[in-house]
Symmetry: C2
Amino acid sequence: MVPGYLYEQLANELGEAIARGALRAGDRLPSVRRFAEEREVSVSTVLEAYLQLENAGLIEVRPKSGHFVRRRPAPITEPRAARACQEPAKVAIGDAFTEVLEAMRDPSLLPFGMATPDPSYLPIAQLNRIVAQLCRESSTVGARYEAPPGAVTLRRQIARRAVEAGVTLDKDELCTCIGATEGLSLALQAVARAGEVIAVESPAYFGVLQTIERLGLRALEIPADSRDGLDVSAFEAALRSQPVKALFCTPTVSNPLGAIMPEGERERLVRMTRRAGVAIVEDDVYGELAFDGSRPRPLRAFAGPGELSHVILVGSVSKTLAPGYRVGWIAGGRWHDRVVRIKRSQSMACPALLGMAVAEFLASGGYDRHLRRLRQVLAGNIDRYRDEIAAVFPAGTRVAAPRGGFVLWVELPGGIDALALHRQARRQGIVIAPGPLFSARQRFSNFIRISAGTPWSDRVRAGIHDLAVLVEE
Amino acid sequence: MVPGYLYEQLANELGEAIARGALRAGDRLPSVRRFAEEREVSVSTVLEAYLQLENAGLIEVRPKSGHFVRRRPAPITEPRAARACQEPAKVAIGDAFTEVLEAMRDPSLLPFGMATPDPSYLPIAQLNRIVAQLCRESSTVGARYEAPPGAVTLRRQIARRAVEAGVTLDKDELCTCIGATEGLSLALQAVARAGEVIAVESPAYFGVLQTIERLGLRALEIPADSRDGLDVSAFEAALRSQPVKALFCTPTVSNPLGAIMPEGERERLVRMTRRAGVAIVEDDVYGELAFDGSRPRPLRAFAGPGELSHVILVGSVSKTLAPGYRVGWIAGGRWHDRVVRIKRSQSMACPALLGMAVAEFLASGGYDRHLRRLRQVLAGNIDRYRDEIAAVFPAGTRVAAPRGGFVLWVELPGGIDALALHRQARRQGIVIAPGPLFSARQRFSNFIRISAGTPWSDRVRAGIHDLAVLVEE
């Protein structure tokens, strides 16, 4: 991570001083004017650097006093990890999904439910400019079906970025799709048939459970924690007793836990599944959002190349660039041909215009700069939301410390019914994602997922307080 | 159809004179100058009117001689209709699909295979301008998921146009999707489960067969002819002996036949299926492309309103505005909630930007004017392609006379292997759609579908001649 601007250098330097403990909680930073003179830079450069640190949640402004290193939150207990399920289960939670997802559609509600970053964090304006330009330059873009595997310009850029993340993907193994959601749907249809067993992290991203339900598959929940994610040893044990067809896994910044699987475990998991003849469907949508700026190598990097790979990689730009563009992709490994075939009958082609715009943005080099800022901002949000929850929620509340992304997995005191809480919160103008959505067996009844994708504000603070009151009651 | 411009009035008047026989094949039209004087209009108005008639294939220019009424083609025998299948069949023609659809992706080949109108026939430039404007006006369009049922502006316009076509659709019963292809996938998943029987026209649109194959359903082929489409009586008989779950049907301009089902048969079919508890999935993508300018009422018009309807209507703008925009919709009738739920897990949201652009175009009123021209141009193409095929293909060739759209269903002399012909044609730079793609049992082995979506040119003529030579051999 090489900062491009002077203010970024300054912000980095100060950030490191805070991390080292050279600057400690409550310490006052030099005044803007003095620091500018000292460093022989402009006042606006220092202001920009301080703003960055503030956005990252590292310092705070006290009116009329200056800038101070923020008090780091008291350590909060992590939620307890799930225990393994004994048996695979059919999924039948469609009604709860529908109820909650309907609520997420209402733009007037406080969006603690939906896992998308606030539009203000995304370079939508830039992307839209590219779209407008493509529209002006070509009078026929959009005229033709861009049949699967989809626009080659986009596939080239995805392959190029994959190389940077340590994975060799060939453009000819990639197929574009409608967000990672479609990729996931394609992947599960390619590797499994109705009745077969898909292992998932527990708690699991609810989207995969929806798809498992729709396809008549069965889910086997494997314990996961918010530090390292999937318990690979528990999974290994499950493999011995259960007819697992595939594993769906989000090794980098899992959802809802925010965990990152250590590299050694990744390698072990890939080896183990290859030996067992079990496919992996890897969800990499948060792959660029680890707070420490690392870009952990996807599981796919440890599997063989293209046709030989038993790891299917699914990605999108929905968490980092433009949810509404619906630009996703799938590297189908040995199931590539089948994936393309399924894609044809599922939705035929992708809108080439939006894919081309994303390709151009990726090619421009602005993506890494954008990602650096996005990670900082999201890390700051997570800290603030987490502090506030710790401060106002009743005793017995536990909050995960995610290592990336923008969602918080919150364990409420026992006896709380998260679905009922969701309904009450909705009446007060707040949407949350209740825990039972994240389990085939509707466990996690006293858990909720809170998205910290919305900038901190009085309204957000009030929303957290309102939730706390509801929980207390 | 009320022509808006003077030249359209003139063209209509002359077109009617030709239809009545007042002007006959070989007759010379008045010279441009004389006609302009006679009618007290400008020379350019007359030129424009003659150009329209020429595009519609009604007149031709003979250099230095003037404009003449074209010789109408000798009547060509229609292909023979299929006989009913005795038993439903699993579909397993994925490899042939893949081979042919791969060929359709190659833009260097002569596209007689793909059922899309040439980009020059479509108002892509206008649509792209709307997209560019939306991008400029809003810096956040594209930022958020437009979760199902999708953008309300688009749903309103679809509902409005449906009313014009004689169907009452409520915006709240509509769900946007990725082209009609996704709509079809959603519909079949909503009404049937693996192993169940879907009745289809024979020959059937190959997309539905792909989807039936993917979902593990079984297809029951019902005879259809190129005038009235589905043989409703044969279907009624099949209902008595087969466990039909749903009927997939394209009553207005079927594909590949180009048939239009008479209104009386529509009513009868809807009544019959309602009584039998059989769902209808109605494909209306060609609904606006009947050459006579009529807008036959969809089957859906004869079923009850919204929640009570057993007819699911699927539509898109892929055949009339912008294939590459992937804007489609589904009115799910009594399965609406299930459709929305399946859509969520299949591809989550649609790109709102493109849907909004289409909505704006539909609202602008330019759509009807565009459709009038498109129908004329396509009717002209169909005539020219059909004449040429009749003139150069070997004896025994039969060509359907489609009543709309832009594809020709061609029966070749017995013994011809259409799949082998496809391969040979591809080597000569021509893509066709071989007949076996249009049947679950891979019947129609000596049929091909030729798309007349490409403007007439020497290259097109040469392509048809090359095909004729291949067939002859």
